[in-house]
């Protein structure tokens, strides 16, 4: 089963840059993109457009932006941590700001990692590469039907 990356990102440029960085890092996983919080939650919980089907497979990691239309990143994170199904899902905050409050809140709500998108593409590329490598290859994901 291919490992899925869920990228929650509203900016098409950032989406493209991330996709490019992942491709060039030879991380050939399926990239699912949600363009706001609602889409992300629909995908994760099988609601909205995903309703009726058998619930889509959970991603291996969620790359979550904070500033999102409709439902913002922190709320998505809270919902993920509240649901039994997604409680242990690795969530990496990938965002532009490094405001102290954002970092504190993200970890407070149970983010596994917080990465500030560097402006410099070389650094962004490196960060994305390391991120993919770590969460998809090195890290042992929690078993999908694991009990407490």
């Amino acid at each position: 089963m291919p490992k899925i990356i869920l990228l929650v990102e509203d900016n098409p440029d950032d989406e493209e840059l991330t996709r490019m960085a992942l491709e060039q890092s030879n991380i050939a996983n399926q990239l699912v993109v949600a363009h706001d919080g609602v889409e992300a939650l629909d995908y994760l919980f099988g609601t909205g457009p995903y309703a009726g089907q058998s619930a889509p497979a959970l991603p291996t990691v969620v790359l979550l932006d904070l500033k999102l239309p409709r439902v913002d990143g922190l709320e998505v994170l809270q919902r993920i941590r509240k649901e039994e199904r997604t409680r242990r899902l690795p969530v990496v905050i990938l965002t532009s700001s490094k405001e102290e409050q954002d970092v504190l809140d993200s970890y407070g709500y149970g983010a596994n990692s917080y990465i500030r998108k560097p402006v410099e593409f070389d650094k962004f590329f490196e960060a994305t590469r390391q991120l993919g490598l770590y969460w998809l290859v090195l890290n042992e994901a929690p078993p999908p039907n694991g009990s407490h």
Binding site: N11, D13, D14, L17, M20, L66, K67, T95, S96, S97, K98, E99, K117, P118, V119, E120, F121, D122, F124, F125
Partner: protein, 517 residues
């Protein structure tokens, strides 16, 4: 019964007068009666003797001639004297010759004639008087007179009683006079005293009616009242002053609390306004942090992708332009970071505590060396420098000052950056010294302004925000910062961090000095 001492003075005086006058009258009356009775007795005896002589004289012929009828007739003339109860004529040899009895109740007893003389027996005067004519004794006259001294004494007693009653009436009259002159003024004084006590009206005065002791007493009381009135007046005025002072005080207090309330309200309003603008600033920085960086990242990322993946389709000039685009976006990114840092140092809450400046400086130097491995800078940091400051804000100061020092000396082969402490005007002063390019002191005034730079970007990169940020942090700690330099001979930045508890801090945002103080 009321005791004597509780009686009104008037009654006491009346009693005194009555008692003394009655006593004197009684004594005088008794003496007079006694004396009168003695005189009366003597006079009665003398009068009886005269009468006896007279009777003897007129009856001598009747005796001499044995004319009883004439003798009885003569004796009968005694009827004119009511006191004579019995009378008798005796012959020379003592034979009863004629008798007289005033009335049957007189119960006269005519015994034998006795020798001449008078005697008083049982309030009756008995008189025997010898009748002689030319030395020859003719007989004896006997008279019995009723002295009636009891009646006389009673009459006297009645007179004395009447006098006593009169005296008593006189006494009452005198007492009423006295009442006017003694009791009345005393009563008035008592009333005045009572009125003063009850109404606290010290302007009342007792009326002076005489110059005697009571008058003096009235004067004394009036003087006392006048004195009391003055004292009470002064007391009253003092009270009024005190009251008005208290009222003023209360009024002032009300005003102060009203002002305080207004002030509090204004402070609350201002605080709300400040909080609002702080929030706005915060959301502004947040937006800047997120939204300004995102397009930059796109510009940078796609320029980079072009260079990386499509370089073959661009000539050298095109590639150069793309490099310039990348450099510009990176500067823009740095600018945004610095501006956000400036905003943060301005609004961040200060949390002062004892910190180790040397340790912070070491950390900062280490990070600088890691970030710029191309520079060969020798950091010399004095150990054990402590200060009472906010560690996060002080990191901004040290990062900037040490970073600048390294930047402006980094091109030299023997670059040296020093951090230490010295005394300036008796105050602990920290300094960061380098042996770099330095600057012209003529432009020292521009050092700490935002976007002010003394070197070109081509020479040394920078945004012109770092020192403005440093200045703000030092100012928020109540300290001052200044610099000393000479082109080509390095620069030294001095700053102070006064201890807030030692009282030499004026205000949090006390403006830090610029250039040399």
């Amino acid at each position: 019964m009321k005791r004597l001492r509780d009686l009104p003075i008037r009654m006491k005086l009346l009693a005194l007068i009555a008692l003394s006058s009655m006593l004197s009258l009684l004594v005088a009356g008794a003496v007079m009666v006694a004396y009168d009775l003695v005189i009366y007795k003597r006079n009665s005896i003398a009068s009886a003797q005269t009468l006896g002589e007279m009777v003897g004289s007129i009856s001598s012929a009747a005796l001499a001639f044995g004319d009883r009828k004439a003798a009885v007739e003569y004796l009968g003339t005694l009827r004119a004297r009511r006191d004579i109860q019995c009378a008798a004529l005796y012959t020379a040899n003592g034979q009863l010759f004629a008798t007289y009895q005033r009335n049957p109740q007189s119960s006269c007893v005519f015994g034998a004639a006795q020798a001449a003389g008078a005697s008083v027996v049982d309030d009756e005067l008995l008189l025997y008087h010898g009748i002689t004519e030319r030395g020859e004794r003719l007989g004896t006259v006997y008279l019995r007179a009723n002295l009636d001294r009891t009646a006389r004494a009673l009459r006297y007693a009645a007179v004395v009683g009447a006098v006593l009653v009169g005296a008593l009436l006189l006494g009452l009259f005198g007492s009423s006079l006295m009442r006017r002159s003694i009791s009345q003024p005393l009563m008035e004084m008592a009333e005045v005293a009572q009125a003063v006590t009850q109404r606290r009206d010290y302007s009342l005065r007792a009326v002076k009616r005489s110059s005697d002791e009571i008058g003096q007493l009235t004067d004394a009381i009036n003087q006392m009242l006048a004195q009391t009135e003055r004292s009470a007046g002064e007391l009253q005025r003092a009270n009024e002053r005190l009251l008005s002072e208290i009222m003023e005080h209360l009024h002032a207090r009300d005003e102060v609390s009203a002002l305080n309330a207004t002030l509090e309200q204004r402070v609350t309003e201002r605080t709300q306004q400040l909080e609002m603008s702080n929030k706005e600033l915060q959301s502004f920085s947040y937006s800047v942090s997120h939204d300004l960086r995102t397009p930059l990242r796109a510009i940078e990322g796609f320029s980079s992708a072009l260079l990386r993946n499509h370089a073959s389709q661009l000539d050298g000039r095109g590639q150069d332009y793309l490099q310039r685009v990348r450099a510009a976006t990176q500067r823009m990114s740095l600018l945004i970071d610095d501006l956000l840092s400036l905003a943060r140092t301005t609004r961040a809450e200060m949390k002062r505590r004892d910190i180790d400046l040397s340790e912070l400086a070491q950390k900062s130097a280490r990070e600088l060396q890691e970030a710029h491995p191309e520079r060969q800078v020798n950091f010399i940091i004095e150990p054990e420098l402590k200060a009472d400051a906010d560690p996060q804000l002080i990191r901004v100061v040290l990062d900037n000052l040490l970073g600048n020092a390294a930047k402006f000396s980094g091109k030299k082969p023997d670059a040296r950056v020093e951090f230490g402490r010295t005394l300036h005007n008796g105050a602990d002063t920290y300094f960061v010294r380098d042996n770099g390019v330095g600057f012209d002191m003529n432009y020292a005034g521009k050092l700490f302004g935002v976007f002010q730079r003394l070197h070109s970007s081509a020479e040394f990169e920078g945004t012109g925000i770092g020192l403005a940020n440093v200045h703000r942090v030092i100012a928020r700690h109540g300290g001052t910062i200044w610099a000393d330099s000479e082109p080509g001979r390095g620069a030294t930045f001095f700053f102070t961090l006064p201890n807030p508890s030692s009282g030499d801090v004026h205000a949090e945002d006390h403006p830090a000095g610029r250039g040399q103080p």
